[in-house]
């Protein structure tokens, strides 16, 4: 049987050509095949692949097969195709996924490993912080200022906006209930205590985790991908001291201030509702707020915010240092930094609630 191939034999015609020749060979099962390439005007490597593949298949069915009238050019292109490569099995066969029990086991083991790593990291961080306290000159204060601006000053607008709205919402919702008892004035106490004790630090911490914790993780992760961290290590810098301590110190200095700021804006939001909706004067509202907040509350909330800051910056940096590989790993580390930071903040906040209760009494 003789097959005449003509025109452009390219990637787009690969499918049709192969299907047609295969069905012809199957239907007629000829004793021998010659393929005339005289009319081929243009051949690319995919076209050559189709021809080679047809030849291989025919020969596999022990059918004598030959090309005729192939130009030198076509011959050259066909010789570029490595026939053994077409049938070489992948060196890595399908990556097997483990069964359920194995997966649970693996997840548990990786959780354990993660806990141990975080513990080790906290130990290392505390040591580095103590060292920084004893040797203040060893701290890179320029970096500290830079990150204070990044995490603090640049975060002011969004923190104030969200706290103001939060104050408005709490005051509005609670006024609906308290109005029924004629206890309008207690809206001020409620907003004041809630903002200073809980919501100020928590909201600030969550915002900072989203803004700065993620940024720290992405920054350190990308530095690892670019071998910058290796370069620092080789030059004799301690990664923790060089990269992490400035970020942690900056956050611990700036987050309490942000949280104070958030509380003030929350109270301002409450005051807007109090003055416009509850017929309270600015003076009465402020007086009632001042009476219900005590120094202990303010100081403990500042300390809480500083601890949150340490968690956020620490976890952010720790997740960043765990990055191995490329872009995808940086993304995963960033997500993990924010999620773990928020989780740990909530856990830590519950601990604070209990401890502060007993200290105060």
């Amino acid at each position: 049987m003789s097959i005449v191939v003509s025109g452009r034999v390219v990637l787009d015609s690969l499918q049709a050509l192969m299907a047609e020749v295969r069905s012809a060979l199957r239907d007629r099962s000829p004793s021998q095949v010659t393929m005339d390439l005289g009319g081929v005007t243009y051949l690319d490597s995919a076209g050559a692949l189709a021809l080679v593949q047809i030849e291989t298949e025919a020969q596999a069915g022990s059918m004598p097969f030959q090309f005729t009238h192939a130009t030198d050019e076509a011959g050259r292109i066909m010789s570029l195709i490595d026939r053994t490569a077409l049938t070489t099995a992948p060196l890595i066969t399908e990556r097997t996924s483990a069964n359920l029990i194995e997966q649970i086991g693996e997840a548990f083991m990786s959780f354990l490993a993660d806990v141990i790593m975080v513990m080790t990291f906290i130990g290392e961080l505390l040591r580095a912080l103590v060292y920084a306290g004893v040797h203040p000159r060893s701290v890179r204060w320029g970096d500290v200022l830079f990150y204070m601006k990044r995490a603090g000053v640049d975060g002011l607008p969004i923190v104030s906006l969200i706290s103001l709205l939060l104050g408005l919402i709490i005051a509005f919702m609670s006024s609906l209930q308290l109005k029924q008892f004629g206890a309008n004035i207690y809206v001020a106490s409620l907003v004041g205590v809630a903002m200073v004790r809980e919501l100020g630090p928590i909201m600030t911490a969550i915002l900072v985790a989203g803004r700065s914790g993620s940024a720290f993780a992405a920054e350190i992760g990308t530095m690892i991908v670019n071998e910058e961290v290796d370069a620092l290590a080789v030059m004799g810098f301690d990664t923790t001291r060089f990269l992490i301590v400035p970020k942690v110190i900056a956050s611990m200095l700036v987050v309490p201030l942000l949280s104070l700021y958030a509380s003030i804006f929350g109270i301002l939001g409450g005051m807007i509702i109090g003055v416009t909706g509850l017929d309270l004067s600015v003076y009465t509202y402020a007086k009632q707020t001042m009476d219900s907040i005590d120094t202990f509350g303010v100081v403990s909330s500042l300390i809480k915010a500083a601890v949150f800051a340490m968690i956020i910056a620490g976890i952010g940096c720790q997740r960043g240092t765990q990055v191995r590989g490329g872009a995808e790993a940086v993304g995963a580390a960033t997500t993990s930094a924010v999620v773990s930071a928020i989780f740990l903040i909530i856990v830590c906040d519950s601990a604070f609630a209990i401890i502060l209760y007993y200290i105060q009494v």
Partner: protein
């Protein structure tokens, strides 16, 4: 490679590249002919890579005109640019493989996107391309599991997936050992000879320039433009410009 019939596939006409107040080069003009291995060379910072990025349409020219396969790259809209880009392949410096996909998946990506081939046929084409760059069997490896030279070859397989008529190489031998880089040079030559692909290379590796280049242009930082054009072997012997002479003979300025 017939010297009689020269069809220009890339024409650059009075191209000026400028970022802000910083002029990288100005009034650069040259043509690349079909089936030629054309090398853009020059010292660090002379704008080689910038020129390449202009030709492949990643940067817009400040002034001047670039035509690739008859299409004005600067004036082309998204759709036209996409069409032109399907006709060429680019091998980036580090291979630029997508890290989340296997090597085979990277090569298959443009095939899935731009052709209607079935999965079995795509698989066959991927194996053929990997075979061409001597990576047979590495279909299921992740880019992080193979070496730098292999990443470049895998990147080349991906660049060739759609059988482009023009291939661009940004520093193909950077960071490769001499043997691997000679192998890559030979691969480039065999693709050029076998498929007739026009090849444009940005490099400063003298050895591979002598090995593969049909014609070169040399850019210079202070001249802000082309200071030499022609056959590298001839330029080495005959150039009177000290900058060109010193470059080809590895002499300090």
């Amino acid at each position: 490679m017939n010297s009689e019939q020269k069809t220009p596939v890339i024409e650059v006409d009075n191209l000026t590249a400028r970022f802000g107040d910083n002029t990288v080069f100005k009034d650069v003009s040259f043509t690349v002919n079909k089936g030629e291995i054309f090398v853009i060379l020059g010292g660090s910072g002379c704008g080689k890579s910038t020129l390449l990025k202009h030709i492949i349409g990643l940067y817009k020219p400040y002034a001047g005109k670039i035509e690739v396969n008859g299409v004005d790259i600067a004036a082309a809209d998204e759709e036209e640019l996409r069409q032109v880009r399907m006709g060429f392949g680019v091998l980036f410096q580090a291979g630029a493989l997508l890290g989340s996909m296997t090597v085979g998946g990277n090569v298959a990506l443009p095939l899935h996107e731009y052709t209607n081939l079935s999965a079995a046929e795509i698989d066959l084409v991927v194996r053929m391309k990997l075979g061409m760059v001597a990576l047979a069997g590495y279909d299921n490896h992740l880019p992080s599991e193979i070496s730098g030279g292999m990443k470049k070859r895998a990147g080349l397989a991906r660049a060739m997936a759609l059988d482009p008529t023009i291939l661009f190489f940004d520093e193909p031998s950077a960071g490769l050992d001499p043997i691997t880089s000679v192998e890559l040079d030979n691969l480039i030559k065999s693709i050029n000879a076998g498929l007739g692909t026009t090849i444009v290379i940005v490099t400063h590796e003298l050895q591979s320039i002598y090995n593969i280049a049909d014609r070169i242009i040399m850019l210079d930082k202070t001249a802000q433009g082309i200071i030499a054009e022609g056959d590298p072997k001839v330029l080495k012997e005959q150039s009177t410009d000290p900058r060109v002479h010193n470059f080809f003979n590895r002499l300090p300025m």
